[in-house]
């Protein structure tokens, strides 16, 4: 088990270095530099700036320097556009905001999606199945950038019960977390329903019934473990989706999180910011995938840690 985790962890590190390399050279290959703006800057000043940020050195050397800075000192470099701020400082300031929004959203997705999926599977072909599943289908067709403005329109403007912009207290979390969470709740509900139905149709359920096991126990003890596997497997993609969804949601609801910084960085060609945030997001996703791998083996006795 420890060996398995260790192996997967090392694999994850390699994947991250790979991602960083690809991102770095992609950004480096981009024509122009972050400093070439519309305003005319004297060439010697531009050269000065580029020297300050290390752009005068060859690409390979720059890559190694930035990688070793990150690994050794946790230093993601300076922001090229927001002068006087380091990427590390931006992350330290905004990551807690995004972490809070993201984890609440994921929680909303799981706490709504999984029970709804179980209920729909157990009460198959009744209104307890049709209603949540139609809602889930509708949810999947209402991506964050449609759902967000609509929720803001209804609850923020028409009924005016919730704030639609900013990040000043618990009530500011509700609409953004609902926007992000409900979308993935829809996915979790569909996956859980499918997984549970597959389990409930297995022969061993009949065996359990023949033993006199009550239906409730059949659902919770015999089917839940196997039925949850599809939903668990989806946790990795769901986290990736919540991260990219946060780009949209933080923009709509004007939340000072990493998502907004990433969009700004992308639009303004803030190389170090993009690189640092990409690495951070990738690390979160790789970590989640590691947890999913462990959970899968824990749930399914036919898999082994290897």
């Amino acid at each position: 088990m420890l060996k398995f985790i260790g192996k997967r962890f090392l694999q994850g590190i390699l994947v991250l270095i790979g991602i960083y390399a690809v991102t770095f050279f992609l950004v480096a290959a981009t024509p122009g530099s972050p400093f070439s703006t519309e305003r005319a800057i004297a060439p010697e000043i531009l050269a000065q700036i580029e020297k300050f940020y290390g752009y005068d050195k060859p690409v390979g050397e720059r890559f190694l320097t930035s990688l070793s800075n990150i690994v050794l000192r946790g230093d993601f470099g300076p922001s090229a556009v927001y002068a006087n701020r380091t990427v590390t400082a931006i992350i330290a300031e905004s990551f807690p905001v995004s972490l809070k929004l993201g984890s609440i959203s994921l929680l909303v997705a799981l706490l709504i999606g999984i029970p709804a999926g179980i209920l729909a599977a157990v009460k198959k072909n009744t209104w307890l199945d049709y209603v949540p599943m139609s809602a889930a289908m509708a949810g999947i067709c209402l991506p964050t950038f449609v759902m967000g403005p609509l929720l803001a329109l209804v609850f923020g403007l028409i009924f005016a019960v919730l704030p639609v912009a900013g990040w000043f207290g618990p009530e500011f979390v509700i609409l953004p977390a609902a926007t992000l969470g409900l979308y993935y709740a829809a996915y979790f509900a569909r996956l859980t329903r499918g997984g549970m139905l597959e389990m409930l149709n297995q022969d061993f359920v009949r065996t359990a019934r023949a033993k006199g096991v009550p239906e409730r126990t059949i659902v919770w003890k015999h089917c839940l473990k196997g039925g949850l596997i599809p939903a668990i497997t989806f946790l990795g993609p769901a986290l990736a989706g919540i991260i990219s969804g946060s780009f949209v949601v933080e923009t709509i609801f004007q939340i000072p999180g990493l998502g907004q910084w990433f969009v700004k960085g992308a639009l303004n060609r803030d190389d170090f910011l993009i690189l640092g945030l990409t690495l951070l997001f990738a690390a979160l996703i790789v970590l989640m995938n590691l947890l999913v791998d462990i959970a899968q083996v824990a749930l399914n006795p036919r898999l082994k840690y290897d």
């Binding site: 290959a29 198959k124 991506p143 329109l153 993609p237 991260i243 992308a266 993009i274 990738a282």
Partner: protein, 313 residues
């Protein structure tokens, strides 16, 4: 398993036939194909939701293609004096802040969104089918390595990569087709691979091998036609996924660039002004969601029709 279904299985078992030649077996599969499609079509027709989805989708697509031509308004024509107006007899969907007719803009936005959806799906289809068929057909270590790579890619934050690609190479629409197609082929590759892996062991493929057909011919003539069903299903479901990604990028300002407008761009413009001009958000969002809805239902219906065994319930 009830006795009832046993009956069904037994009754449908074919009679033991005289031994057939390899070429007979190899050709048989091509003949059987037609009844499979007929059955699937009759099953699909019974699925009212899927048929309704198909009809609505075709209507939306036709409106997007034909609408802008027959409309008396030009989607780019600004009327700053008019400004944003609510839906009226002249402008059914109202006008935007620059006085442009929203109906025409929504239809033209749909054109772009649907085009991105189709073209990027074609890109993903080509990559996925070739990759998956190769892995499944060659099997063994090659297959294991190729699929491990797919697993690895599955675990990566692809949206971020698409964003980076858009940043690095400029925000052109053609690049977007390729970038989106390049990240959406993974499910396709998996489905094709598992289909080919299963087919490879069947006797009509062994028969084709024994007749000395080339690998290319076997893959093209015998394997790909037989995984067409699941491929069509995945392709139908890839279109909405791709449209979603395009709208996402356009919403962030990284996709389709003004003055061109896709549904994503329109939704973004709409949400910026939704306090005052809610129709600017509601019409494009409605059409976008409705299209996704239809395509998803159609995909589900096709899955049930083409593969009755995997029907959800």
């Amino acid at each position: 398993m009830t006795d009832h279904s046993e009956t069904a299985v037994l009754a449908s078992e074919p009679a033991p036939r005289p031994r057939r030649s390899a070429s007979e077996i190899a050709e048989e599969e091509l003949v059987q194909g037609s009844s499979l499609w007929k059955d699937a079509w009759s099953r699909l027709r019974k699925n009212r939701l899927a048929v309704a989805s198909l009809v609505i989708f075709v209507l939306i697509a036709l409106a997007c293609i034909v609408g802008p031509w027959i409309s008396s308004y030009d989607s780019q024509a600004q009327d700053l004096f008019l400004g944003a107006t609510a839906p009226s007899a002249e402008h059914w969907f109202g006008t935007d802040t620059l006085g442009r007719d929203l109906l025409v803009r929504t239809l033209e936005g749909g054109r772009i969104s649907l085009m991105v959806g189709l073209l990027a799906t074609v890109v993903s289809l080509m990559i996925g089918v070739v990759y998956g068929a190769t892995a499944g057909y060659l099997g063994g270590k090659v297959d294991a390595t190729m699929m491990r790579f797919v697993d690895l890619l599955y675990a990566l934050p692809f949206t971020i990569f698409v964003i980076l690609l858009m940043v690095a190479f400029g925000r052109s629409m053609w690049l977007m087709f390729i970038a989106i197609g390049a990240v959406e082929w993974l499910s396709m590759a998996r489905i094709v691979r598992s289909g080919v892996l299963g087919l490879k062991k069947q006797e009509f493929v062994e028969a084709a091998v024994s007749l000395g057909y080339s690998h290319t011919r076997i893959i093209l003539r015998h394997l790909i036609p037989n995984v067409l069903g699941p491929v069509i299903v995945i392709a139908t479901l890839t279109v909405p996924a791709v449209m979603l990604l395009e709208a996402f990028l356009s919403f962030l300002g990284l996709g389709v660039q003004p003055p061109d407008a896709s549904w994503g761009v329109l939704i973004n413009e709409g949400q910026q002004n939704m306090e005052i001009y809610p129709w600017l958000l509601i019409f494009p969002a409605f059409f976008f969601a409705l299209t996704l809805f239809c395509l998803n239902f159609l995909g589900d219906g096709l899955r049930d029709a083409l593969d009755p065994k995997s029907a959800k319930d």
